[in-house]
């Protein structure tokens, strides 16, 4: 009889102790926001283009973490979509965009046509356009994410999206190998 009482008491005390511990841990190690959002966001290309229908990559990451579709990111392309599918544990879906928009582009302002209206500057999500009122604008190419958002506001249509040119540094080495035939040393050359 006393054994039962002891067991009940011990278990109750244990339950209380662990309850307090858990409660403390829940407060002490509280995680702000959904950690999945950060993981999703890390996969997104951060062009901030809004083609997914959300105002930036972070909101889309939150939406994906909340169960939205993973195929709404054309700048990320199929690779990003597949990574997202992997992370979220869902089936890959075809992108809701054509292939041609996946070419990396940067904005280019035809500077002699620019009237200095600053509309593109206001549209640029990453502050990659330099200029001031009634002064010529130009794109800081290194900062441009190719999001396309500056093209529509331009009243004189002087912004082009130009595909990024390949340089010797960014070349992908897709070439045929140079096979070297094994010759015998003793053979006269």
């Amino acid at each position: 009889m006393s054994g039962i009482v002891i067991a009940v008491v011990v278990l109750t005390v244990l339950a209380l102790v662990f309850g307090v511990l858990l409660g403390f841990a829940a407060e002490k190690f509280k995680v702000e926001g959904n950690p999945l959002t950060d993981q999703v966001e890390a996969l997104l290309p951060q062009t901030q283009c809004g083609q997914c229908g959300y105002p930036g990559c972070r909101p889309y990451a939150e939406a994906i973490a909340g169960g939205d579709k993973i195929n709404k990111c054309p700048p990320g392309g199929t690779a990003t979509m597949e990574k997202l599918a992997d992370l979220m544990g869902v089936d890959p879906e075809p992108l809701n965009a054509t292939e041609e928009v996946q070419v990396k582009k940067v904005a280019y302002i035809r500077e002699d046509e620019c009237i200095g209206c600053t509309k593109c500057i206001q549209a640029c999500p990453v502050d990659a356009i330099l200029g001031s009122g009634k002064l010529m604008h130009t794109v800081i190419t290194d900062y441009c994410t190719g999001c396309d958002l500056c093209v529509a506001p331009c009243p004189v249509d002087c912004i082009d999206m130009i595909p990024v040119e390949q340089t010797t540094k960014t070349w992908d080495w897709q070439l045929n190998a140079i096979p070297v035939k094994q010759l015998q040393e003793d053979k006269p050359c």
Binding site: P45, Q46, T47, V126, W171, L175, P179, V180, C189
Partner: protein
């Protein structure tokens, strides 16, 4: 246990992992001395070589000399590009690069003039130069690693940590290439001189000149040169290294010579070691001792397709095509490959216009027999040969597996970045898999992914910074708006208070002025008071008269000539007004440019305005009686010499009020209207009055006048009783000038004209039928003009409208002839007016 240095001194060698023994085929090109090749017509120098922070120092059509720098730069990593010969720069444009891709890069095209004129250089004494000077000379000479990587030498020679061991790399392990071999054989002394400079810069404990044992002549030559040189034999030694590919690789050579492995991602300098090519040592000597820039290098041209295989001094920037043309190329340009570098690590050249660079040590022209046909890749059989051959201790088949599947992150986890792309795995692969190609593709993909990731992070950073900025701007804007609103509120309250205070002050001032005028104005203004009284009396009399329908006007005051004149003028003006509606009224009353006249004018203007009003009222009010009581009390307290302006102002104000009253009365049609207008106008002018104020007042008055006229013309009132009390207090402390007075007068006149014209236009018929017209204007003029000897007057003229303009318009108001004449004329005018009135009455009666 021996220390490392003791083991090095003993000549101990360690075994490096992997490696292959491909056929060397070096005897093809190492039998002849290094020769010169003929000058090319055109040289192409890619501008951004290693170290991109450079500025172009020349422009198109500049003539450059051999050894002249084409770029300038100040950064530490900057390495200049020099002209290899003398000539004219014909273009600076994108030209095909000496790269596996053949992508065009910005290049300087120099048209050689054939003179090969060199920039004058001064040989310098190494003893007098400081280490910094030497490094600067090396940098200015544009010396880069001539072994193939072309890394700027001056960076390598100024390491952050101490260098204990310098290795001079004379291994040249790749098949076919013999440029270092020939250089060591022919220029060993210069190389050792360069090594001495390196030793001076770094002061290492040991220097090892490592040469593969397949180059015994080179080893001999270097040994002799070392014995001849001043380098301490204890610290410098020549080590023969067994022939194996790729023992010439930096990390592999360190492994062989010291047994130490350079950690992944580290550089040899972190182990206190430094590796330099023999060719670089030669170039350092040339630059520091002789002062020559690096403008040419030894290039091995070999292969069975080469007609004259051997080593050549080739100016850097020489197009490969020129070399082939001048040395003889027996192959077919379209089908035979031209390989830059050795067969193991080199790449085929897509465009023959590409130039020789600092790192180009070999142009390989293999025949079809030498290189295999493009064999088809067979599946990997997992034999593991590649893992055995790999000098970097990697697992090539795993790397291949993941690279082929494009699982680049997994390939990276197998340390793909440690692959030196030596090609050993491809060489040994029984399935003919071009493993290195897969690795290169995977590496570039990983590189671009990393770059993208970096850019994405940067974009995210900028995006977040922008959002924060916008948020801050918004908050700042709101705060500013709030602040502005509060400020506005504050100032508004203050101004309200001010206004109240001002009003109070004005009331007080007014009271005081009233008292003062009552008390003080007694003595000097007795006359005036009398006049005022008289005027009032007159006005009353008139009223009575008009009330009893009498059209006669009684002038019950006897005045002096002037007054008479003025009165006459006024009368005339009124008459004109009422009688000649559209005519030009030019009352020329300012013949006498005295102040008196002016005042008179002012008064006249006031009177006219009132008269107009009355006329308007009467004209419009057809059927009934109109009684306008206009009481204008103008209190003028003048403490200083008074002037016309104040008078004017007062007059203007009075006029305005009168007009308003008239307008009001005119609008009220059917019933009896009693308008009591009490207007207290206080004009307190403490400062010298200027024209502007007067003008403004005039403008205001004009506007009102117009309005009133319009109103009155439209309205048809029956009985109207307008009581207009205008108290005008003008306290003026400053003197004014004549001009303003004149202007005011003119303005008043103009207004009067306008108003009458309007009235007349619309009410011509009405006027005829008007029985009675009563205009009562009692003006107590501001006669208390102490400074001037003017006299107050109160012209009151009942006006009987008449269409016949008998009154002469051009008649001057005041003539300067005899007073009697004037009087007579005045009398005549008055008589005429009366006559007209009477006529009108008669007509009506009839």
């Amino acid at each position: 246990m021996l220390t490392l240095l003791e083991q090095i001194d003993k000549g101990t060698l360690w075994r490096s992992h992997g490696g292959v023994h491909p056929p060397e085929l070096k005897n093809l090109s190492n039998k002849t001395t290094i020769r010169q090749i003929p000058l090319a017509n055109q040289y192409v120098l890619p501008l951004p070589q290693v170290g991109d922070s450079a500025l172009l120092a020349v422009k198109v059509n500049d003539r450059v000399l051999k050894g002249q720098a084409l770029t300038s730069g100040t950064s530490f990593a900057y390495s200049p590009v020099h002209s290899p010969t003398s000539g004219i720069i014909t273009a600076i444009k994108a030209m095909p690069s000496n790269h596996a891709s053949g992508i065009e890069v910005l290049s300087c095209v120099i048209q050689a003039d054939g003179l090969d004129e060199a920039k004058t250089v001064e040989p310098s004494d190494i003893e007098t130069l400081s280490n910094q000077d030497i490094l600067k000379k090396i940098q200015q000479a544009g010396i880069a690693g001539l072994g193939g990587a072309a890394f700027p030498t001056h960076i390598k020679l100024s390491p952050a940590s101490d260098i204990e061991l310098v290795i001079i790399n004379g291994i040249e392990c790749e098949p076919y290439i013999t440029s270092d071999d020939r250089l060591m054989r022919e220029h060993s002394d210069e190389i050792l001189s360069g090594i001495a400079i390196i030793q001076r810069l770094l002061s290492p404990k040991r220097i090892i000149i490592a040469i593969e044992d397949n180059k015994p002549e080179a080893i001999d030559a270097m040994q002799h040169a070392l014995n001849r040189s001043q380098l301490a034999s204890g610290s410098t030694r020549i080590t023969a290294v067994p022939t194996k590919y790729p023992s010439g690789g930096e990390k592999q050579l360190i492994q062989i010579l010291t047994g130490q492995e350079v950690p992944s991602g580290a550089i040899p300098a972190q182990l206190g070691m430094l590796v330099q090519n023999v060719g670089t040592a030669y170039a350092i000597n040339d630059a520091v001792i002789n002062g020559y820039a690096l403008t040419n290098r030894v290039v091995t041209v070999t292969g069975l397709n080469s007609q004259t295989p051997g080593n050549y001094w080739v100016p850097i920037g020489t197009p490969v095509k020129h070399i082939l043309d001048s040395l003889g190329f027996s192959g077919d340009f379209s089908s035979d490959k031209i390989i830059i570098g050795g067969p193991m690590m080199g790449h085929s050249l897509p465009d023959l216009a590409a130039p020789v660079l600092k790192g180009t040590n070999c142009i390989l022209l293999p025949s079809k027999e030498e290189i295999a046909d493009d064999v088809t890749e067979k599946p990997c059989i997992r034999c593991g040969e590649c893992a055995v051959a790999c000098p970097a201790l990697l697992l090539p088949q795993q790397l291949f597996w993941h690279s082929k599947a494009e699982e680049y992150d997994k390939a990276a986890s197998f340390n793909l970045h440690d692959c030196i792309e030596c090609g050993c795995c491809s060489y040994v692969c029984p399935s003919d898999i071009p493993l290195v190609e897969y690795y290169r593709i995977a590496k570039s993909a990983i590189r671009s992914q990393t770059e993208e990731k970096k850019q994405a992070d940067f974009a995210k950073q900028r995006f977040e910074a922008r959002l924060q900025r916008l948020e801050e701007e918004k908050l700042a804007r709101e705060a500013k708006a709030k602040e502005a609103a509060e400020r506005r509120k504050g100032t508004m309250a203050a101004s309200d208070k001010n206004a109240v205070a001002e009003a109070m002050a004005r009331i007080k001032a007014k009271k005081a002025a009233e008292q003062a005028s009552e008390n003080e104005a007694a003595e000097p203004q007795l006359d005036k008071k009398a006049q005022i009284a008289a005027a009032i009396a007159r006005a009353k009399a008139k009223k009575e008269a008009s009330a009893s329908n009498s059209s006669e006007s009684t002038t019950s005051v006897t005045i002096d000539d002037k007054k008479a004149q003025i009165a006459a003028a006024i009368a005339r003006a009124k008459a004109k007004k009422s009688s000649t509606p559209a005519a030009d009224v030019s009352v020329n009353s300012s013949q006498d440019p005295q102040a008196l006249d002016k005042k008179a004018q002012v008064a006249a203007a006031v009177a006219r305005a009132k008269a107009k009003k009355a006329a308007a009222n009467t004209a419009t009010a057809q059927p009934s009686e109109l009684s306008v009581e206009l009481q204008t009390d103008t209190e003028t307290t003048v403490d200083t010499p008074v002037n016309d302006k104040q008078a004017k102002i007062a007059a203007t104000v009075a006029r305005a009020k009168a007009k308003k009253a008239a307008a009001n009365s005119a609008v009220a049609q059917p019933s009896e209207l009693l308008v009591e207008l009490k207007t207290d106008t206080e004009t307190t002018v403490d400062t010298p009055v200027n024209d502007k104020q007067a003008k403004i007042a005039a403008a205001v008055a004009r506007a009102k006048a117009k309005k009133a006229a319009a109103n009155s013309a439209v309205a048809q009132p029956s009985e109207q009783s307008v009581e207009l009390e205008t108290d005008t207090e003008t306290t003026v402390n400053t003197p004014v000038n004549d001009k303003q007075a004149r202007i005011a007068a003119a303005v008043a006149r103009a207004k009067a004209k306008k108003a009458t014209a309007k009235l007349a236009d619309e009410t011509t018929d009405v006027v005829q039928n008007t029985n009675e017209s009563l205009a009562e204007a009692s003006i107590s003029d501001n006669g208390a003009l102490s400074g001037l000897d003017d006299k107050p007057y109160a012209p009151t003229e009942p006006v009987s409208p008449s269409q016949e303009g008998e009154v002469k318009q051009q008649e001057p108001a005041s003539t300067m002839t005899a007073e009697q004449q004037k009087k007579a004329r005045i009398a005549a005018t008055i008589a005429k007016a009366k006559a007209k009135k009477a006529q009108a009455k008669l007509q009506e009666k009839e």
